[in-house]
């Protein structure tokens, strides 16, 4: 049995899974994205028990499990909590370099929003940098209706 195994070529089988999804964005998400699209405003949800504004917004508070949340607008400007500049290109990236990923604490929010940072000079990116949202002209109710954040 072993003789023929030595002469067998190693074969590969190629495949690809392409499955379309249609995710309901939900009540909370719909309000967030509609307001972003129509008014260029960023809406978070506020938990009175925890005294926290969540960005992105949530239907229930993940900390105290309360569902009595209320809408609160947050600023489109905030502070960079952390960032990284990818040194590789990938199909999944939304734009060509140079750009960075960052987590931004928008003024009025208590949690950070993960997004893209662009329009920065060499060495300009640092924790604590003030950044502001740049909105797309044609918005469709998508997280990239904010094109990116850039230094103020």
């Amino acid at each position: 049995m072993t003789d023929w195994i030595e002469q067998t070529e190693d074969m590969v089988y190629k495949g690809r899974i392409k499955v379309p999804y249609t995710w309901w964005v939900g009540e909370t998400g719909s309000h967030f994205f509609a307001t972003l699209r129509d008014e260029k405003k960023l809406m978070g949800t506020f938990c009175a028990k925890c005294d926290m504004v969540f960005m992105p917004p949530r239907k229930n508070c993940g900390r105290c499990f309360n569902q009595q949340m209320s809408w609160k607008e947050v600023a489109d400007e905030g502070t960079l909590l952390t960032y990284t500049v990818p040194a590789y290109e990938a199909d999944i990236h939304p734009m060509k370099p140079p750009f960075a990923f960052g987590i931004i604490k928008l003024d009025g929010a208590d949690t950070g929003l993960t997004h893209i940072v662009a329009g920065f000079g060499t060495g300009q990116l640092k924790t604590g940098l003030r950044v502001k949202a740049v909105f797309k002209e044609d918005r469709e109710g998508h997280i990239l209706d904010i094109r990116h954040f850039q230094p103020v």
């Binding site: 964005v25 990284t84 040194a87 990923f101 949690t111 997004h115």
Partner: protein, 379 residues
């Protein structure tokens, strides 16, 4: 808690690309190895827990395909989709439930067979985050930045983890990447996403691993003295990266607290003889030192500088070479546990820590160590 111990272990060699091998080949290999190690047969196995991930396998319900390879046909088989230590935890629980005398836990992955960045991108929320194109490398890089900025940890201190673990891997015949490096070598290696260089990151790996748990009665049949479960805990942090303080790991503190309380560990540096932690990126090992209580918060850089976690130090960490030397995702945590078993048994050959009787294994799950599982085992 009743006694439950590991009586058999098996690992494949970890490789960049296991040419010609399928998941089933690897699973069969480690199942046979674990059974031989235990001196048991497949009929002595009462139930099976598999660990795998549907995206990586390219098959949903990936656990349901492996019956032939791990002897699970007509047995109870369930799955943990998460790091191997979590699978081991579940396997031990099934024995502790009293319903089963033995559990075979087997983890597999072939990261070479698809695209790491597309698969890890998919762990992010499809509506708020996925379209940004984040993956495991870029999200971890953001955590590394947050950690370094919070505590003044340097790129050089991160590099020391890579130097230590790649050198330790020279003593592990199963490790994928064993290297003699200097801090300079790490800092000069290609930047992936600042502050992480290529040598700060774990490689793409194929591999599988298995352990067999047994209660006291079933362990009587086994060849070797069991390595007993002393304590275990796991805890998860929030999902959205922005909800978390990425510079700290409260979930690890919580998980370790539970494990230490069960195991009677008040001073981990003194009472543990060895630790195998999930250093998927170099900075993570430093953060996990803190979460595990090996040093105070912010003290990870200081601890690596002190040499305490080197071979020959007070508490060697990752004598196997860790995830930096081989990272078959989901298998790696089980490999950490198996390395601990070998240490306690005195079977770790060139990577043996002398006089080892209590060991800690650690695994993570989710982006930036969202969740942690800590297991303490011993004689």
């Amino acid at each position: 808690m009743d006694k439950v111990g590991i009586v058999g272990v098996g690992q494949t060699k970890y490789e960049r690309r296991k040419v010609g091998e399928t998941f089933f080949d690897m699973i069969y290999e480690v199942t046979v190895k674990a059974l031989d190690d235990a001196g048991l047969t497949i009929d002595d196995i009462d139930n099976v827990v598999t660990v795998s991930n549907d995206f990586w396998d390219g098959r949903t319900i990936s656990s349901m395909a492996v019956q032939d390879a791990c002897g699970a046909r007509h047995k109870d088989i369930s799955t943990v989709e998460g790091d191997g230590v979590y699978g081991a935890f579940y396997g031990a629980m099934r024995v502790l439930s009293g319903s089963f005398g033995t559990t075979l836990v087997v983890a597999h992955n072939k990261c070479s067979q698809s695209r790491m960045n597309q698969i890890t991108n998919a762990m992010f929320d499809p509506i708020y985050t996925r379209a940004l194109g984040l993956d495991a490398v870029t999200s971890s890089a953001m955590q590394a930045r947050a950690y370094m900025d919070a505590f003044g940890v340097t790129a050089g201190q991160l590099a020391k983890v890579s130097v230590k673990n790649h050198r330790n891997a020279k003593n592990n015949p199963l490790a994928q990447i064993a290297l003699d490096l200097t801090v300079e070598d790490v800092l000069k290696s290609r930047m992936l996403a600042d502050p992480l260089h290529l040598l700060d990151a774990s490689p793409i790996t194929d591999g599988a691993a298995a352990v067999i748990w047994a209660n006291e009665t079933a362990a009587g049949k086994a060849k070797k003295q069991p390595v007993w479960l002393k304590g275990v805990g796991h805890m998860s942090d929030a999902y959205h990266l922005g909800d978390r303080d990425l510079a700290r790991s409260p979930a690890l503190v919580g998980a370790a607290g539970k494990a230490y309380a069960m195991a009677g560990i008040a001073d981990p540096l003194k009472q543990l003889d060895v630790a195998e932690v999930s250093d998927v990126f170099s900075y993570m090992e430093l953060m996990w030192y803190e979460g595990l209580g090996f040093c105070p918060e912010g003290g990870g850089g200081g601890l690596i500088d002190s040499g305490a976690t080197e071979m020959g130090g007070d508490l060697p960490v990752n004598p196997s070479g860790g995830c930096l030397s081989a990272n078959p995702v989901l298998v790696a945590g089980l490999a950490r546990l198996i390395e601990c078993v070998l240490q306690v048994r005195g079977e770790a050959d060139a990577r043996q820590v002398q006089g080892c009787s209590t060991a800690l294994a650690h695994g993570i799950d989710g982006p930036c160590g969202q969740s942690h599982c800590v297991m303490v085992i011993g004689k």
